[in-house]
Subunit: 336 residues, 4 copies
C-alpha cells in the first residue's frame, strides 16, 4: 500500500521532503501540493511530482479525499491551524519545527490530539533519528550508568544580522532542548543563562556566546555552550557523564589526513550537512506510522514541552545568571 | 514510473534486497520471485511481496513481460547463465558477487554485453557505495596528490573450518581487489603473497594471516594484510600514501566512552554490519539506471578484472613470495 | 656550581624530591634534612643522601650556613613559618602547596618577599610545567584567538571518607585555580557552584559532583566539573574556546589497542602518574633560579591569589548557585 | 659518587651530550674533551665544561686517569678504534651510531668485549628509551598476544641531494632495525625490498619510497615503508599485530585544535624533536651502569646485529623483490 501525502509549503524544506518521498523512500507518494504562492507549488509539481494536484488553500488539501497524510512545511505562524485541521480530519500529520509559535498554541494541538484519542502528529525534531544520537542513547542506557551531567555545545561559524539573542534559543538551542529530553528520558525543571564576554565577531544586537544551564527532574545538570560566531565550523558536541563513565556523541564521518605538518579531519561548515541523513529516517518513520493511521517519533507533547522550555530559556537570558523555573503540566496518558 | 523487478535466488541476500526494494527505496517493486527451492520464494512472497509472481525457473522470470529488470542472488555457479539470459532479453541485471565462477565465464558476459552495445549489468561490489570509501576517493583525488602506496587490512575475528586458503582471495580480498581498482582508477600488473608464521587460532587447512602485495600499471604498491583469525573484531583498514600526504578510511561511527580505566570505542564483530548502509545506495543506483534501461556502478568488465586478479592472487599464494603477472586484455570502449 | 639544598619534611613528597635532586637532576645536592620525626629524616638520609646533615628543627636547617636553598615539604600548617624564615634568611625557597593555610598567611609571605625586594619563593603548582599545558598555552596564544570560555573537568575514581565537600576546592580545584590564571594570564572576579544530583558512590558527607563556574577580569567564563567518584579513572580535561577556534589539553600518552571488539587506550587511575614528569621540570626550574639567588615559576603572589580564590569557591559551595565575588588587591610590581 | 666522563667528538651530538651531563642529569660531570679540531673542543669547554681538560688525541683522553667513562661522538669511521681502546682500558663507553662502519669492525668490538668478560659498551640506539616504544613493548608483552606482523613507516619531509638509496638503510631504517629486534625480542632471518614508482620529489640518485620486508626467526613478518620525501612531516608509525589484538605506537603529544573547518593536530617536521626526550633517558642509563663499572641498554652485539642486517637490506635493495638471507652467528653468553 502506498501512502498518499499532501505537502503544505513548498519552500526549501517542503521541496526537499517532496524529493525524499518521490525519489528516495519506499511506500509513499506526493499526491497534493499547496503553497501561499501557487507558482512555487506548481514548480515543485513540475520538477518532482507531476501527478500531484496543486491546491490553492492548505485547508482544501487537508480535506481532499485522496490525501492520506499531511506534511506541514509552511511558515511557522501557519503551523498551528494546519495541524489542528489535520487532527480534525483524522489524518496523520508531520509538522516541521515549531509545532506552534507559542506554548499555548502547542497546548491547543495537544488538547485536540488527546480529544481525538490516538496520536496523529509527528514534530520535525530530526536529531532523534541521527545515528550518532541513537547510539549515544544506547550507550547511556547500557554502559555509562545513570546520567548525572551533560556537557554540550552548539556552534555555528556565523549568523546573519537579523539573528538576535532570543533566536539562540528558538532557532538553535531548540534542537538540544528536544533531543536531551529524549536522550535522558527526563523533563526540565529550571534554566539559567551565563554570558562570558561577547565575541568580537558577534554583531551589535546579539549576545554571543552564552552557556545555558538546564536542570532536570532527575537532577541532571546540563550545560550547553551556544556560540554562533565560532568561525571555525558547524560543530555539535555532547558528552554524558554517568555513574560509571562517560559517553560522547561521535564526530561526523571524516577522512583523516596527514598534510602540511598537520594530522587533520575536515569539520563541516554548513548545518544542512550535519544531520542530512536523519531526515530520511525521520520521514520514513512518519510514512510507516501514518500507513497504520497513527504517528510515532517526537509528539505534539514533545513540541509543547520544547515550547515551554524555550520560553523559560529566553526569560533566563533576560534574568542573566538567575534560575528560571520550568513547569510542565501533567503529561496526558496518550504520550506515555 | 516504478521499476518492476524480478529476483532470482531468495536466500539471505535475495530476501534482504527484496525487503530493501519493497520497504526502503523509492521507485521500484518486486513483481517476480524465483528460487531453486520454490517454497523459499513463496516464503519471501508471503512476507514481503504478496503481489509478486513466483516462477519455478529463473529463465522464465527473466522472460516474463512484466519484469523490467533482474536481480541475480542465486548461488554463484548459476550467475553466468542468468546474466547472459538477461542480456539476451535486453533487461538490466544486478548480479551479486561473483559475476561468474571463472574468468572465462566473466569474459563471456563482457562479450555478450559489448555485442548488445549498451551496459546492462551491475556487479554487487557494494564497497564503492560506502560513504567512507567515497570520501577517501575524493580526498585522494583532491588532497593527497597522486597515490604511490596503499596499506590496507581486512580482518575477521574467525572463520569456519571450511574456509580454506584460496578463499582468503575469492571471498575476502575480492572486495579490496575491486575497490582499489576504483579508488586508484588503475589496473593491476602483478601479485605476490607473503606469509608470516601461522596464527595459533588458524585451523589446519588454512594459512592465516597473509600479506598480499599488488602492483598497479601506474606503479602504486599495495599491501593488504588478510587476517581472518584476528580474534578482536571485523576491521577494514585502508591508508593511501600520495605525493603530498596520506588519507585514511574512517573507522565506522562509534560512541567514544570512558569506562573502567579505558578510553574506548566499540569495534564491529560481524561483517554484515560494516557496509550495511552501502547496500541501500548500491541498489538505489541500480534502480535509477535500470529505469533508464541501462546499468551503472561496477560493470561486468570490473567483475572480469576482479576474476583475473583473483586467479593471479591464488597462484601467488602457491608461488609464495614470487611475483605472478596480471594481464588484462584491452578494455572495450563500452567501459570507458 | 652545585646548589646545596635543605629539605624540610621527609614524607612522601619530601623523599621524592630528595631522590629527584640526588639521582635525576643536575646542579644540586641535598645537604640537609629535617622532619618533625627525626627518624624519618634519618631514613631518607640513609637511603638517598648519606652526606646530608639531619637537623632536629627546620629553623636550624634554614639557618645552617651550608644550606643555599630550602624545600618546604612538611605538613601544610607549618609552611608559612618556614617560608617566612627562609625569606628572612634571604634563601630561595620552594614550598609545596599550600603556601599557607589561610589567605592572610599567604599575604604575610607576599609582604615579606616584597620587603625583601627580590623573588625568593616558588610554590609547588607543578601543572604549569606539564608539557601538555605548556603546549596548550602556546596554542591559545598563537592559534585560537583570545579566549572566551574554558570547559574543564577534574575527575578522580574515588576518594576516602575523610574527603569532605570543601576539599573539592582546597585539594582538587586548587590546581585548576592556579593553572588557569597562568594559562589565560588573567584574574578571577567571581565564583559560583552548581550541584547536580549527588552521585551514588559519593559518601554521606560529600556533595559530588559539582560544577564550579569562574569569571575572569577579561570576561572569560570557565566551567570546571569536579567529580571525585567518577569511578572510571583519573582524568583531567581542559578545552579553551577562543575567537578563532578551540584548543584541547592532550590525553596522556597511551598505547592504542584493538582488543576484544574495542578500540581502546588505557586511562590513568592514580593521580600520581598524571603529572609525574612535571615534577622534574618544576624542580629543575627552582634549581636554576636558586643558583642565581632568586626564584621563578609560580610565585607567592600566585599562592596568595589561589588562596583567595579557594576561599571564594568554598563560600560559593555554601551559597549554591549564587555568585561570590573574588577581589584581589593590587599586585605588587615584584610580580609583574 | 660523580662519574667523570670524557667526550670524544664535540660536534652537534657531542656538544648536546655534554650539555645533558652538565646541566640536566644527576651523577656525572664532563672532565675531558677531545676533537680532531681542538678549537671545537675548547669552545664546548668554554660554554659548558670549564673545568674539563682538552686532549689533542682521543687515545690520550681514554687513557687519562681522571676519566672513568667515555662518550664516542666523533665521526663514524673513528668509532671502532676508540671503542676498542676504551675496552682495552677497561672503561665503560657509550658509542653513537654506528658502532663501526662495517659488520667486521663491529664483530671485533664484540670479540674484545667478550674477551674482557663484562659489558662495557652501550650503542646510541635511543629509540629503546622512548616512552612510546617502552609502552608499546609492554603492551605487546602483556596484551596483544605473541606478535605475528609489524606494519611500520619512517617518513621524512625531505632529504638533501647527497642522501642516496643505501642511506635509506644505513641512516634511516637502522633505527627500526634495532628497535624491532628489541621490541620483539627476536632476530632477523631475511630481508626483501619492494619499490613502488618513484615519488616526484625524490632526486635523481635516490629511489624513494621503498618498502622493506623483514622476517624474523620466530616468523614475524615486518613491513616498513621508508619515504624520505613524504613532504608532510617527520612521522614514525609502528603497529604490532598479535594473536589477540593490535597495539600502536602513540603519536607524539600534540594539541588538538578546531580551526578553519579542520580538526587538527600538529605533526613534527624535524626529526630532532621526535625522540628528544629519549636522549636524556639513554644517557642516564649509561651513567647509572657506568657508575657500577659496566654498561646496559643496546650492546655491541646489538650494534653488530644491526650492521649485519643493514648490509643485507642494502643487498636486498639491489636484488629488488628477492629475499636476501640474514645470518647472525651464535650469540655469546655475555649478551644473554
Amino acid at each position: 500500500m502506498t501512502l498518499k501525502i499532501g505537502v503544505i509549503g513548498t519552500g526549501m524544506i517542503g521541496r526537499d521532503h517532496t524529493r525524499r518521498i518521490q525519489q528516495v523512500l519506499a511506500g509513499a507518494e506526493v499526491v497534493a501540493l499547496s503553497d501561499y504562492n501557487p507558482d512555487a507549488a506548481r514548480a515543485v509539481q513540475a520538477d518532482l511530482a507531476p501527478a500531484a494536484t496543486v491546491y490553492e488553500k492548505g485547508e482544501d488539501l487537508i480535506a481532499a479525499p485522496e490525501v492520506d497524510a499531511i506534511l506541514v512545511c509552511s511558515t511557522g505562524a501557519t503551523h498551528e491551524a494546519y495541524v489542528l485541521a489535520a487532527i480534525a480530519a483524522g489524518k496523520p500529520c508531520f509538522c516541521e519545527k515549531p509545532l506552534a509559535t507559542t506554548a499555548d498554541g502547542a497546548r491547543r494541538i495537544v488538547d485536540a490530539e488527546v480529544a481525538h484519542g490516538t496520536r496523529l502528529v509527528q514534530v520535525g525534531f530530526m536529531r532523534r533519528y541521527d545515528a550518532g544520537y541513537v547510539a549515544l542513547k544506547e550507550a547511556v542506557q547500557t554502559r555509562t550508568g545513570a546520567p548525572i551531567m551533560v556537557h554540550a555545545a552548539h556552534r555555528n561559524p556565523t549568523v546573519p544580522e537579523q539573528y538576535l539573542t532570543p533566536m539562540a534559543i528558538h532557532d538553535t538551542l531548540i534542537h538540544e532542548i528536544d533531543v536531551f529530553r529524549w536522550l535522558l528520558d527526563d523533563d526540565y525543571v529550571s534554566a539559567r543563562v551565563l554570558f562570558p564576554r561577547k565575541a568580537d565577531r558577534a554583531h551589535a544586537r546579539l549576545r554571543d556566546p552564552q552557556v545555558v544551564v538546564l536542570e532536570t527532574a532527575k537532577g541532571v545538570l546540563i550545560d550547553v555552550e551556544i556560540f554562533v560566531n565560532c568561525h571555525y565550523g558547524y560543530d555539535i558536541q555532547c558528552e554524558v557523564v554517568g555513574e560509571d563513565g562517560i559517553a560522547r556523541l561521535p564526530e561526523p564521518m571524516a577522512i583523516q589526513m596527514r598534510l602540511g605538518a598537520t594530522l587533520q579531519n575536515p569539520i563541516l561548515t554548513d548545518w544542512k550537512d550535519r544531520f542530512v541523513a536523519s531526515y530520511d529516517v525521520e520521514l520514513n518513520d512518519f510514512i510507516k506510522a501514518a500507513t497504520r493511521g497513527t504517528a510515532a517519533g517526537p509528539s505534539s507533547w514533545d513540541g509543547y514541552a520544547a515550547a515551554i522550555t524555550s520560553d523559560a530559556c529566553v526569560a533566563a537570558q533576560d534574568a542573566e545568571g538567575t534560575t528560571v523555573a520550568i513547569t510542565l503540566p501533567a503529561r496526558p496518558a496518550l504520550y506515555d
